[in-house]
Amino acid sequence: MFTPLTIAVALAALALAAWCGYAAVKDEPTKDWHFGGMAVVTVLALAQVVVGLVRLGGGEDPDEGTAVFVAYLLAAGFAVPAVGVLSLSERSRWGSATVAVGGFVLAVLQVRLYDIWVGTGG
């Protein structure tokens, strides 16, 4: 994996989570700017999907197995778009909270992706 990209996705996802969490605390729904933020995070996550698949295609082998790695990679790609759709039809603070959860989940997935690629060493 390309570690700087993994870190970038994780940090962007956490920033999105904090931003939307703040909106939820202020009792606000997700707005256009939030969806812009989700788009940025999604582009980063999709770039990672491409990088991951290319490196797999180049014959590299994730420590914990290809199937697990691909499953996590795809989940990371879908996480933020999925919560974005959920928040579109829930125009309240709870829609914002949902996106915050999605961002947090994506950050956790990045940590797991890194572990799966290099191995946890026991």
């Binding site: 199937a67 697990v68 959920l86 829930e90 309240s92 709870w94 959860v101």
Partner: protein, 149 residues
């Protein structure tokens, strides 16, 4: 979504609005996570820890049922979700205790090991929130705002 034929003036019970949207999302995450994990473990390494993996699969089924019920809504789904969430709570408490008392039975982790410590204790917190949500009155749920008991 269009309202179905209201039976005796009762609106269709909506379970995924307001806080329900957040609860649905969390259950969705657990449903996807537990299902893929169970499929992988049962298909590739079943012999290593059969008990743990079968329990993981059971947990996955429960999470999927709850997620679908919450998303669909309606009184039947609400009852089904109540049953499943109660089973989830019993399961996480029982398996949590079991893994504390007899760790040797579990060479590998389940979602519910140690009361879900590996998952921020969400497996034990989530059913409590879920039960609270499903037991509120329909009017409270629809207004989607916390109201005094």
């Amino acid at each position: 979504m269009a309202e179905r034929q209201p039976a005796a003036g009762e609106p269709r019970t909506r379970l995924s609005g307001g806080p329900g949207r957040l609860i649905l999302t969390l259950y969705g995450v657990f449903a996807v996570g537990a299902t893929s994990r169970a499929v992988y473990q049962l298909s590739t390494q079943f012999d290593e820890a059969p008990l743990a993996y079968l329990l993981s699969a059971l947990a996955a089924v429960v999470y999927v049922f709850i997620t679908v019920a919450l998303a669909r809504g309606g009184e039947t789904a609400r009852r089904l979700a109540l049953v499943c969430i109660t089973a989830e709570l019993v399961g996480v408490l029982a398996i949590g205790t079991w893994t504390e008392v007899q760790p040797s039975e579990f060479p590998d982790q389940t979602v519910w090991s140690d009361y879900g410590r590996g998952y921020l204790f969400l497996p034990v917190i989530l059913p409590v929130i879920g039960l609270w949500w499903l037991r509120r009155r329909p009017a409270e749920r629809d207004s989607a705002e916390p109201s005094p008991e």
